[in-house]
């Protein structure tokens, strides 16, 4: 009997507010250590937290996007523990009453749509950072990150494979960027996952779980889960028992290692923070936020499938980001090319181009209008699809719009049937053997003749026309 894998994810998303969640200090990444830490962030005696409404507004946006319940009243609590990156000796978080309860996230795993329920999402502050290098046996403390607003999003343990967990994480990553609450920069730690992993025999109660902390790339997430599943299965099959513990993934060794067991788990002595009033969110506030929400990817994905007859796969790719779907819609608005063709170009060549250039749809060197024009030239037969690829790259290089590039590079298809006919006549006259072969039933000889014609016309002849005229002549 095989093992069933059970995965739940806790994702820390850094919110895009300009200032911190409880102080006015900047959240900008990369400043010199401790230059973005105010008296509040340094936990100077007597300082007090004041909640940043922008962080709450982003939590509301998330709650609306996942169809969760936005709590009319939620409570900030103190999570007490000592560590040098935690200046107050407690983290302000939400414990019993979080800002968002429930909701769900739908995403594609291959061609199949999956939906994972969310437990909750709560607001909290990030800790600072310890610097262990260049201090000669001592550690430095950088509190620039201390107090940065986070929304911790907790899923139900409903994922059944590493692949599915990664698909969920990618969909969540896409969603938080889509609704503008997180920049999604994983290198800078703006989006990081903790994975709770356990295994069981199908139908059995949940097995003992391990939590793998701080996975900041999709690849690490996938590998860490795969490793952890193997470790747990082998352990159980060898007669051992999984111990509930927190583990860290070591990307160099490709394995997870125990960090602390449940027995060492700290008692965080949570209690409501008396410095902050209960967070009250009125229905009016929710309505105001709702009115400013963009159309959501899930809805758009279904619209692309139903109204434009795109495949689930194409629609999912087009709704990877708000910029990409916007680009697709902008191209569609200025061309009569078929939706499938537009989708293929965007998901294929344009995405590959942007990937090569390290750019995205918000700063594409080929605008939606420029691409629309190019696709128009394929559609009206001016150029071949193959030539269009060349035009695309030339446009990206700044050689001008589609028409200018086609003109300059002489890529216009030869659609003058008289010129094509004379080229064909010359080819037929020079290739008597292939003509005989074809007439004897060798189809391959036909392809060879097409190739000769295209060569003779420097690739500019309209292939469809060449095919048609050639067959007519050979038949005659």
């Amino acid at each position: 009997m095989t093992w069933e894998v059970v995965i739940g994810l806790e994702t820390h998303t850094q919110l895009t507010t300009a200032s911190k969640i409880f102080s006015g200090a900047s959240t900008q990444f990369g400043a010199a250590p401790n230059t973005q830490a105010s008296a509040v962030d340094l936990a100077m005696p007597g300082t007090l937290p004041v909640l940043n409404k922008g962080a709450v507004e982003r939590a509301i946006r998330f709650g609306l996007a996942v169809g969760g319940r936005i709590a009319a009243t939620s409570i900030f609590a103190r999570k007490n523990y000592f560590y040098p990156d935690l200046p107050k000796g407690y983290q302000i978080s939400q414990f019993e009453l979080p800002v968002v309860v429930g909701g769900s996230l739908a995403f594609m795993v291959g061609d199949e749509e999956r939906r994972v329920n969310l437990t909750r999402a709560h607001l909290e502050e990030d800790a600072g950072k310890l610097l262990h290098e260049e201090f000669h046996g001592k550690s430095g403390v950088d509190l620039n990150r201390a107090g940065t607003p986070l929304l911790e999003i907790v899923s139900e343990p409903e994922m059944r494979s590493a692949l599915e967990a990664v698909a969920y994480a990618k969909a969540l990553h896409s969603l938080v960027r889509w609704i503008g609450i997180c920049d999604g920069n994983m290198q800078e730690g703006s989006f990081r996952c903790d994975a709770n992993v356990s295994v069981r025999k199908p139908g059995a109660p949940l097995g003992t779980r391990c939590e793998i902390k701080n996975l900041n790339s999709f690849r690490f997430l996938e590998r860490a889960i795969e490793y952890e599943v193997r470790r747990q299965v082998e352990l159980i099959e060898d007669g051992g028992k999984v111990v509930q513990e927190t583990r860290l993934y070591d990307p160099d060794a490709g394995e997870t290692r125990a960090m602390r067991s449940k027995e060492d788990a700290q008692d965080y002595r949570y209690f409501p923070d008396p410095d902050l009033l209960p967070l009250a969110i009125t229905p009016e506030w929710i309505e105001t936020v709702k009115a400013a929400m963009p159309e959501l990817p899930e809805k758009l994905r279904h619209a692309f499938m139903e109204e434009l007859s795109l495949t689930a796969y194409d629609a999912a790719l087009l709704t990877e980001s708000r910029e990409k779907s916007g680009y697709f819609q902008a191209v569609r608005a200025s061309t009569s090319a078929a939706p499938k063709m537009v989708a293929n170009w965007i998901n294929g060549d344009v995405s590959a181009l942007l990937n090569d250039w390290g750019l995205d749809y918000s700063n594409s060197p080929v605008s939606a209008q420029a691409l629309a024009k190019l696709l128009g030239r394929i559609h009206d037969g001016t150029i071949s699809g193959k030539a269009a690829k060349e035009v695309l790259h030339a446009m990206a290089d700044g050689e001008g719009d589609a028409d200018a590039v086609i003109e300059k590079r002489g890529l216009k298809q030869m659609s003058d049937s008289g010129a094509i006919e004379s080229a064909i006549d010359q080819v037929l006259a020079a290739n008597a053997k292939q003509v005989d072969d074809y007439r004897a039933g060798k189809e391959r000889a036909f392809n060879s003749l097409v190739g000769q014609v295209m060569k003779a016309t420097k690739g500019q002849a309209n292939p469809a026309q060449v095919n048609e005229i050639l067959r007519r002549k050979l038949a005659g």
Partner: protein, 487 residues
């Protein structure tokens, strides 16, 4: 020179009339502080240069004719209000080297008013204590009897005002820390409604109970000072965005028709007769002035001390976690590792009472005990507040003693912390309910030590309380008595 025998209001008039300059006044008080520091130990930090610089600019402001009532008035501050550039110790070794890098809201308000920061007063460590014996800087003595404690935790402020080393001083009141020392030293003290005065820059003991207030010699002086301290500050989320009253202008309203609630529980067991008698006499004086007395009941009053000694230490255990030797304050020498740094810095930096409360607080919040202690105490806290709400349906103010006895001798209660906790019986319920409370002198008890009358008002009713106190002080002279030797 008898400047110091003047009230703050009288000094304000003298400054305005240019009978005296702020520099002269400040020098006068600085000299008195210096003279009495060895016997009273009321101050932790005095910085004549800084104070006189402020006095000089106050004089310039007076000369320009745009003085406010407190311009040029020296005011002493309890040493837990952060004042930029001033050492701010909270009476603790762990902050003995801490120079505040910013001003508390209250300090900013005094600066704006043109007041002079006269010095930082001694206090029980982190405001934990009722006798001012828990200070790392030594105990404060009571000007009425140097063998007696001044009360606490604002003991330095109370002693300074009683000995006329300052016309007024700030204090904070978490469980009685303004009212009880005011009672013990024969001065007037007001703890405003929770949320009336910003806590920003006021070092926290128990956040949901702490409130800054004032100690002075008269209700009128308290009104002038409260007008400067009170008001909205967006940096304290628990501060109320609500206009302040003109406290000084409201003083003359009298007490005709005032309904005084006297809780039947207040005069039950435990109250010394030497305290009960002056309290009864004060209430009778109010009746003579036209007030009526109604009996009210505060049935959950008896639970307030245990509730307080769960909630206040719980909050304190968390609030004091930041003193870890990492960023500021005392750090142990040569710690071997991080754990040693924490353990030794805190073990060396905190005194025994603070450690006791941190342990109590950590215990009541810990897994498995939270519901039985912390949560239960929160529920009873609501019942205590409800008792007051019901009482205020029948009366305008509640009166009773501020403390169950007069000031006791130094060292007489230090061996039994629980006994000292129980003495907070009359003051603590007001903090739990978030109400304003006041103590004004109303006579003398055993060993001729002062007795204070506690006046409790409804939420944000400071203006009425001050006028009620003022009426008493117009009719009696208890508030004008001065401790022998300090005249």
């Amino acid at each position: 020179m008898s400047l110091h025998r003047s009230t703050l209001a009288q000094l304000s008039a003298k400054l305005a009339a240019k009978e005296v300059s702020s520099v002269e006044l400040t020098r006068h008080y600085l000299a008195r502080i210096e003279a009495w520091q060895p016997s009273l130990n009321a101050f932790i930090t005095v910085d004549a240069q800084k104070s006189l610089a402020q006095a000089k600019s106050a004089d310039e402001r007076i000369a320009k004719g745009n003085a406010a009532p407190l311009t040029g008035i020296p005011v002493a501050h309890k040493d837990l209000f952060c004042a930029k550039g001033w050492r701010t110790t909270c009476g603790s070794k762990i902050l003995s080297n801490f120079i505040a890098p910013y001003d508390a809201h209250v300090i900013e308000q005094f600066d704006r008013a043109g007041a002079v920061l006269l010095g930082k007063t001694n206090m029980d460590e982190f405001a934990m204590g009722s006798s001012n014996e828990n200070s790392a800087f030594g105990p404060v003595r009571n000007p009425w009897d140097l063998q007696a404690v001044p009360g606490g935790s604002s003991g330095g402020s109370a002693a300074a005002v009683a000995a006329m080393l300052a016309p007024a001083a700030t204090g904070t009141d978490t469980g009685g820390s303004i009212r009880q020392p005011a009672s013990f030293t024969g001065v007037s003290g007001l703890r405003p409604t929770y949320g009336r005065v910003s806590r920003y820059g006021m070092v926290a003991f128990a956040s949901s109970l702490d409130q800054g207030g004032v100690l002075a010699r008269t209700a009128q002086d308290m009104a002038l000072v409260l007008s400067v301290m009170a008001g909205f500050d967006e940096r304290d989320s628990t501060c109320m965005d609500r206009p302040t009253d003109d406290y000084a202008a409201g003083l003359g309203k009298g007490v005709k028709g005032l309904r005084i609630g006297v809780p039947r529980e207040y005069f039950a067991s435990g109250l010394s007769q030497d305290v009960a008698a002056p309290i009864q006499a004060a209430i009778e004086e109010y009746q003579r002035l036209g007030a009526t007395v109604v009996e009210v009941s505060l049935p959950n009053q008896a639970l307030s001390v245990p509730v307080y000694y769960v909630l206040a230490p719980a909050e304190a255990s968390s609030n004091l976690s930041r003193y870890d030797g990492v960023r500021y304050g005392h750090r142990a020498d040569q710690p071997g590792d991080l754990m040693q740094l924490y353990k030794r810095s805190r073990a060396e930096g905190f005194g025994p009472e603070v450690k006791r409360r941190i342990m109590i607080g950590a215990y009541v919040l810990s897994h498995g005990y939270y519901d039985a202690y912390y949560l239960k105490a929160q529920k009873i806290r609501r019942l205590i507040a409800r008792d007051f709400a019901q009482a205020f349906e029948q009366c305008d103010v509640i009166m009773g003693p501020s403390a169950p006895s007069v000031a006791y001798d130094l060292g007489s209660k230090t061996t039994d912390p629980v006994q000292m906790y129980l003495d907070d019986l009359y003051t603590i319920p007001i903090n739990l309910a978030g109400l304003p409370g006041m103590s004004i002198p109303c006579g003398f008890g055993d060993k001729a030590r002062p007795v204070g009358l506690q006046i409790v008002g409804n939420y944000f009713d400071e203006s009425r309380m001050l006028s009620v106190a003022h009426a008493f002080q117009q009719a009696t002279d208890w508030h004008t008595r001065m401790p022998g030797g300090f005249e």
